[in-house]
């Protein structure tokens, strides 16, 4: 059983495009300070950022929980929001329900969840329509792409 070394929780606010990305920047700073391999850091940053953006764009509120063990990094993003009706489609590259406004801001290309999955060693997506979505990603510390 991997030993938990550090755990942090961040609140993510919906529609807060201004502050979007701050959590992933903070996590990056922390991992850099801990001397984590830069390849692993980049994958964690992409996962956190995409997940953060999903909450900002679609949900009402969310929590990002970050757990470092001696083997891997776990990231769980749980939101309260509309949920995803078709999980398989949501994981298709290029499929998006983003509004024109979001696309104008450079988001909503349908790469969010596929990107999270691609950068994870294990990935899990659960959702209940009208309740919310939980994305779980684990990235191994010794892992490679």
């Amino acid at each position: 059983m991997p030993e938990e070394l550090l755990s942090r929780s961040f609140t993510l606010h919906s529609h807060d495009f201004d502050k979007a990305g701050e959590t992933s920047t903070e996590i990056k700073g922390m991992l850099k300070e801990l001397g984590i391999d830069s390849q692993v850091i980049r994958r964690v940053v992409v996962v956190c950022f995409e997940a953060e953006m999903n909450v900002v764009m679609y949900a009402d509120e969310g929590t990002l929980t970050f757990v470092l063990t001696d083997e891997d990094i776990g990231i769980e993003i749980a939101d309260r929001g509309p949920g995803i009706a078709d999980l398989d489609r949501a994981l298709e590259e290029g499929w998006s329900t983003a509004t024109d406004e979001m696309r104008e801001m450079g988001f909503g290309f349908g790469m969010g969840l596929p990107n999270i999955r691609r950068n994870s060693d294990t990935f899990d997506l659960r959702s209940e329509v009208g309740v919310g979505t939980t994305v779980t990603s684990r990235i191994r510390l010794d892992g490679v792409d």
Partner: protein, 432 residues
């Protein structure tokens, strides 16, 4: 571990310990101990913010003089495009060439050709690049060093191509060796630099190995003498034989905030200037946000290379002069294109090796490092959070880290220790 060479020298006798440099440093590479500024070698990226901020003139560029190149048989100046915006308008580029010859150079290199070659090679490179985008420019040595220190993973997006000054350096050697029948090592290729970072990158290239250039001379080193001779040339209508170094717009654009004005429009090109902006943009690249950009040019100096710390004139003035100069210029010219046609495809512009991340020493296993980080957070929570700098570190956060790594004591904080207040009184007493 590599000893990093830097282009600055802190003259202790002149340093008043005022902390201006420490507060200005973007990588937190300066501490003030015993009332004197000290640089942390591995963290310094040679941006020159400290040198610009130091009101005492205690931080000096370690420039070389032209005399130091006396042993070479033939000395060729490779002038930064910035140089041509540093003189009064009536002193035209061809007069500046006369000035350079007057101060002791044997020839002045037609650098616009290398700049044009660079643009073409970048366009080709970007077309063929299948890795993550954007491809990042290698021209600004500060940005390369910033990647090495703070964005090691982005080094794979750094273009594996020599910067234009290096492309010029190799060709200078080949050209004059052939023309004069001298061995290449007897010919000096000397860059006329508008910033100290270029000097450092020539003395110690970020990718290791040796620069094709033999060194550099900062603009201020030769400015007055070049100006005097160039003014005379302008007055007497004397010109530099057949070399007009500023014949097309591309030579001018390289000292503006958008250097690659001639990059083909099929490439989505973004140019960012000023270190804080560069850092913001690189953070976005790291998050995967700028994949739609093909080529990213980053310049550490606000408003681009024209604002380098060895430029003499105010950047807005010099750019206005260059714009006036560029008004009548074509995008390119037959002479440049002929040289480009002769050289392109025959020269290897690729970097032999890529710059590696700077290794910061990682002490202890992960468990130990987590413990230290948590310890630093605990210390930070009792510090005032004012970032006053009186402890000798640029911020409370940095002090907290210095304490956990054993380089400082929490008693260095004036809020936590009367001893520190007394010590500062002693160090900074103005009258004895």
């Amino acid at each position: 571990m590599t000893e990093y060479a830097h282009g600055f020298l802190i003259r202790e006798d002149d340093c008043t310990g005022c902390m201006a440099c420490m507060r200005a440093c973007p990588t937190d590479a300066i501490r003030v101990r015993e009332g004197k500024a000290r640089a942390i070698n591995e963290l310094c990226i040679d941006c020159g913010a400290c040198l610009t901020m130091c009101a005492q003139g205690a931080i000096l560029p370690t420039s070389r003089t032209l005399e130091e190149f006396a042993d070479f048989a033939f000395k060729v100046a490779v002038p930064s495009p910035v140089l041509f915006g540093q003189f009064p308008l009536e002193v035209r580029p061809e007069h500046i060439v006369v000035g350079l010859l007057a101060v002791g150079f044997d020839a002045v290199w037609d650098f616009g050709v290398d700049l044009r070659l660079t643009t073409l090679a970048i366009a080709d490179y970007v077309d063929k690049w299948s890795g993550p985008r954007p491809v990042i420019s290698i021209t600004c040595p500060v940005v390369v060093r910033l990647l090495q220190v703070s964005y090691p993973k982005l080094l794979e997006q750094l273009i594996r191509m020599k910067p234009p000054r290096e492309i010029a350096g190799s060709e200078v050697k080949r050209h004059y060796s052939r023309e004069l029948g001298l061995p290449e090592e007897r010919i000096a290729a000397i860059y006329i630099a508008a910033c100290q970072a270029k000097t450092v990158s020539i003395e110690q290239p970020a990718e290791g190995g040796r620069s094709a250039l033999d060194g550099s001379v900062g603009i201020p080193q030769i400015y007055n003498s070049v100006l005097a001779a160039a003014r005379d040339a302008a007055k007497n209508g004397e010109s530099s034989g057949d070399l007009d170094p500023v014949r097309s717009v591309s030579m001018v654009s390289w000292s503006t905030p958008r250097p690659l004005a001639d990059l083909p429009s099929r490439h989505r090109y973004m140019s960012v200037t000023g270190l804080p902006n560069v850092i913001r943009v690189l953070d976005d690249v790291e998050k995967g946000r700028l994949k739609n950009i093909d080529f990213l040019e980053c310049s550490a100096c606000w408003a681009g290379c024209g604002n380098g710390n060895l430029a003499v004139d105010n950047v807005y003035l010099s750019q206005a002069k260059l714009q006036t100069l560029a008004r009548d210029l074509p995008d390119t010219d037959p002479r440049t294109e002929a040289e480009v046609a002769r050289r392109y495809g025959h020269e290897d512009f690729s970097l032999e090796r890529a710059p590696e991340p700077r290794t910061t020493v990682v002490v202890g296993d992960l468990r130990e490092r987590v413990r230290r980080m948590q310890e630093a957070e605990r210390i930070l929570s009792v510090l005032p959070g004012l970032d006053c700098g009186l402890c000798g570190a640029p911020s409370c956060k940095v002090l907290a880290h210095d304490v956990t790594s054993g380089h400082a004591s929490r008693d260095d904080c004036v809020f936590l220790s009367k001893r520190r207040v007394d010590e500062l009184r002693r160090l900074y007493r103005r009258s004895k």
